[in-house]
């Protein structure tokens, strides 16, 4: 399978950072997921081959990390924190709102493929709780209203 040139440059640079090839697995998985959207069977086979691992070993690692996924996700992956600080500041209500608005549950994906929703543990933004992350972008000091707007904006962006 083919990845982008950017991926290839990163990969060949990264592989030199470690004494053994297999150590490059986790960052490689992350880059591949960013590029393909999820870790397909094809991606797994390719990376296993490149790093001298069995596919089973690659799957073992993927299953360990909740940020890695073998299933296609929506274009925008909405990750709402409900850990202690966010919970105290309305995180659970925000999550409920997202569920209702998007019509999906935890780890669900909307039919149009635009949104996925995830309830996550602390994302390190406690000082600005309640917080959520959409792909790599943080949204802080959230209220239901604010969250609602954010989702609308993404929807607009995604359907343009």
């Amino acid at each position: 399978m083919r990845f982008s040139d950017e991926f290839e440059t990163r990969f060949s640079e990264m592989i030199t950072h470690y004494p053994t090839k297999r150590s490059a697995l986790v960052p490689t998985l992350l880059y591949a997921q960013d590029e393909v959207g999820y870790l397909s069977d094809e991606v797994i086979a390719e990376l296993a081959g490149r790093l001298g691992l069995t596919e089973l070993e690659v799957r073992n690692v993927i299953s360990y990390y909740s940020m890695l996924t073998t299933k296609p996700r929506g274009k925008y992956n909405v990750q709402v924190c409900t850990n202690i600080a966010c919970m105290l500041r309305g995180g659970e209500e925000i999550l409920d709102h997202c569920k209702k608005k998007l019509g999906i549950g935890h780890k669900g994906t909307t039919e149009d493929g635009l949104f996925s929703l995830e309830e996550v543990e602390c994302i390190g933004a406690c000082s600005w709780a309640a917080a959520a992350q959409v792909n790599y972008d943080f949204h802080e000091n959230l209220t239901i209203e604010k969250m609602d707007k954010i989702l609308d904006e993404y929807k607009k962006k995604g359907t343009q």
Partner: protein, 784 residues
């Protein structure tokens, strides 16, 4: 390594530096409980059962990962330690189903034992347990996930031990699960090591699951009857309608040369014994059809016909084909019966390695053959030819373990990129069929270098490999049947230029070596004594036939010409295995002893149902020359050991069987009572008598009587009987034997069995067949 002294529970304990605390405790007789720790596998530190208090360390330490240090003070049993272990067991039981009454592991489960010794009588968990139905991962491997305690032993033994890496751990924390390599099923070597090593009943086997309970079986330690490696296997047997049924095979007690290793064949392929096609009655050809008959009628007929042929046409009109799976005693008896009773030298067997050439090469030069145990400890190993992973699974296991744990150097010379290449420090690819050239090159003949390099391994690489090999001391050289005759002599000559080098000649069947050692050759008597000049055997056996014997192909030719009037086939299937046209045998009177109606049995005039190696006693010799005791485990009514049948045929021919089997003489003893207050006395007598080589041989069917003779007359076999009976393997020194012989190389026909096949026997193993079918199904799926 220097010794380190520490104090454990107030006791002074000394062990070599570098020893793990758990092992040091064990050596001092102090038990530290463990689940995940397994000697020989990487450390896991997952279960925390082995925690102990080490003075000056703030928290409890895991004894399985702690290395001992001088002056260390350890407490393995205190309130704190007990509390901690109790909590661990409680957590493990938190989601563990309480199905011990039906679980395969019940009665020999490490979790049961731990819960009993270290656990709490009640649990504080009231939550519903996570249930998941049992999954079938392959014909052999089943997984009952809720029972798993996540010790990861299975993952490690499959990866590190087997080098298959078919099992993995997925998810994290309490959600962790053991996963097979093909997401919902396994594609692997089906060795069952993972099942065997599982401390609980999470991994169970297709062969044994839900069949019986450990305490309902008898356990008999004997030797695997498949390949030539000679693994010790403990068979679990129980009563059945037709005798004693084998339900399980393992080597959990780690006795024998294979420690706990068994491949699929040793572990599960005992099921041929209970195949419904098994013959249970003698068959005699009447009006062109094989009809059931009685033993008496069969023996009478065979005895009469054999005698007629011998007396009328002479012994040379009779041929004898022996087995590579019968015991040494049976092979010796057959060799003797052929010469002394049938008066023929026409004796042969399915040869899969050239031992006579090895005997010739090493004649009078002792100490040049390696044992299977040597492969585990040798500093270096050279493998020429053979795909050991598939053809000699134990040898491959020994090599891998040695490379992994002792950093042995492995050199591989093969015409294929065999799996062991991965462990090899040096690998050279041969052009097909050029094994002999490799030997010439090793011996210093550089003229072959160009043709060797044709397969892709460069000239420099070949030379570098040779330099490395030449620099090794105490090298074990194992070679496949690719090397025959004079090539073996050349290899032995090369080996003798190295310090301490030893050879292993690889043959395919469980007692190929024994068949060879016991003289199932036309020109060789037991111990590789040339038949032409065997005064020793003349004294033992009486007058021997003078005519030169025929080899197996020559016998077939003679049969074609109508000169071979009778053929006696004991536990062999030359028609099926050697591709012989059955029509060629139509003019001969053919007697076949076998378990099944094989291609050869189908054309026989008389077929006698025989017992297999799991149903008889005696000894067998593995491919390295390690002699081991075979013990009777299973039994199928109305099948007889080949030993008894040979004696009965001799008797039916009017031969005084005392001249064949030296039984009855010597010792007469009061065997005591076998019932009542003095019961057991007979056993006590027997133990002593056996140990002193004096056990009464009360019938001519007692193989021990022939073992006496073997030990007396077959060179190299005079090993300690006590050790043998105790179950120890003992090495046979081939160099002490006769001069051997250089035979035509084409007389060797490799069995070409892989992991899931085992000659004719394998065809009757449902386990092996189902694995093969499963595989071809997978291939089909992959193709579309």
């Amino acid at each position: 390594m220097a010794d380190v002294t520490l104090i454990v529970d107030g006791k002074k304990v000394t062990a070599p530096a570098g020893t793990l605390l758990i092992e040091a405790c064990k050596s001092a007789g102090i038990e530290v409980p463990s689940f995940c720790y397994y000697p020989g596998l990487s450390l896991q530190g997952a279960c925390r059962m082995c925690v102990v208090k080490v003075e000056k360390m703030p928290k409890l330490q895991t004894a399985c990962t702690t290395v001992i240090t001088e002056g260390m003070v350890v407490i393995t049993d205190s309130e704190e330690v007990r509390q901690s272990r109790k909590a661990m067991v409680e957590l493990l039981l938190g989601n563990h189903p309480l199905d011990c009454p039906v679980c395969d592991a019940g009665g020999e489960c490490e979790l049961q034992d731990m819960a009993f010794s270290y656990g709490a009588p009640e649990s504080r968990y009231t939550e519903a347990k996570n249930h998941r139905e049992e999954q079938q991962w392959s014909p052999v491997v089943y997984f009952d996930r809720p029972r798993c305690i996540l010790c990861y032993r299975c993952v490690r033994v499959c990866g590190e031990g087997m080098d298959v890496w078919a099992l993995g751990v997925q998810n994290r924390g309490v959600s962790s699960i053991i996963a097979p390599n093909q997401s919902d099923h396994l594609e692997c070597e089906e060795c069952g090591m993972c099942i065997d090593i599982c401390p609980v009943g999470a991994l169970t086997s297709g062969a044994y699951r839900y069949k019986t309970r450990p305490w309902e079986m008898n356990h008999v330690g004997t030797v695997c009857t498949h390949c030539g490696d000679g693994c010790k296997t403990t068979l679990g047997v129980r009563r059945s309608d037709t005798g004693m049924e084998i339900v399980r095979g393992d080597n959990r007690d780690k006795s024998g040369i294979n420690n706990d290793f068994l491949c699929i064949k040793g572990r599960y392929a005992f099921d041929f014994a209970h195949n419904e096609e098994r013959l249970m009655q003698p068959l005699i050809r009447k009006n062109g059809k094989l009809e059931p008959s009685t033993w008496e009628e069969a023996f009478e007929l065979i005895g009469r016909r054999f005698r007629e042929v011998r007396d009328k046409d002479g012994g040379q009109a009779i041929g004898v084909i022996g087995s590579t799976r019968t015991t040494n005693e049976e092979n010796y008896l057959l060799s003797k019966f052929a010469r002394a009773v049938l008066k023929t030298n026409n004796v042969d067997h399915h040869r899969s390695a050239d031992f006579p050439a090895l005997a010739a090469a090493l004649h009078g030069k002792p100490g040049k053959t390696a044992t299977m145990r040597d492969v585990l400890t040798a500093p270096a190993i050279l493998l020429i030819g053979n795909d050991a992973t598939n053809q000699h699974p134990l040898l491959a296991w020994q090599i891998r373990t040695n490379v992994r744990l002792r950093s042995a150097k492995l050199y591989v010379i093969n015409s294929a990129e065999i799996k062991l290449k991965k462990q090899a420090a040096g690998f050279a690819l041969l052009p097909a069929g050029a094994d002999a050239k490799a030997v010439a090159f090793l011996s210093g003949d550089d003229s072959v270098l160009d043709s060797l390099a044709a397969a892709g391994t460069a000239r420099d690489a070949w030379t570098a490999l040779r330099d490395q090999v030449r620099g090794e001391q105490n090298l074990v050289i194992a070679f496949g049947s690719e090397l025959r005759g004079a090539d073996i002599e050349k290899l032995a000559a090369f080996a003798s230029t190295l310090t301490g080098a030893k050879l292993i000649c690889l043959a395919d069947y469980s007692n190929s070596r024994g068949a060879s050692d016991m003289g199932l050759y036309p020109d060789l008597l037991p111990g590789y004594e040339p038949a032409a000049s065997a005064s020793k055997f003349q004294q033992e056996w009486g007058s021997l036939p003078a005519e030169k014997g025929l080899t197996l192909p020559e016998m077939i030719d003679a049969a074609k010409d109508g000169k071979l009037k009778a053929l006696y086939v004991v536990g062999a299937n030359p028609v099926g295995r050697l591709g012989i046209d059955p029509f060629l045998l139509s003019k001969s009177f053919v007697v076949v002893q076998d378990m099944f109606l094989t291609e050869t049995a189908r054309i026989a005039d008389v077929v006698l149902p025989s017992a297999n190696a799991y149903e008889k006693s005696g000894t067998c010799t593995n491919t390295c020359g390690d002699l081991q005791l075979v013990k009777k485990a299973g039994e199928v009514t109305d099948c007889k050991p080949d030993f008894e049948m040979i004696v009965r045929i001799a008797d039916a021919m009017g031969f005084d069987v005392r001249g064949l089997v030296p039984f009855g003489g010597g010792t007469h003893s009061d065997m005591g009572q076998t019932r009542g207050a003095q019961s057991g006395e007979a056993d006590r007598h027997a133990v002593w008598l056996e140990a002193h080589n004096l056990e009464p041989k009360m019938t001519p069917f007692d193989p021990m009587a022939i073992l006496d003779e073997i030990q007396r007359v077959v060179a190299g076999y005079d090993v300690s009987r006590v050790n043998l009976l105790a179950g120890a393997d003992q090495h046979i020194e081939i160099a002490e034997g006769g001069a051997g012989a250089i035979h035509k190389p084409e007389l060797i026909v490799p069995a070409n069995d892989g992991l899931f096949s085992s000659g004719t026997l394998g065809r009757y193993s449902k386990t092996l067949n189902s694995v093969m079918e499963n595989r071809s199904a997978d291939v089909e799926v992959a193709a579309d």
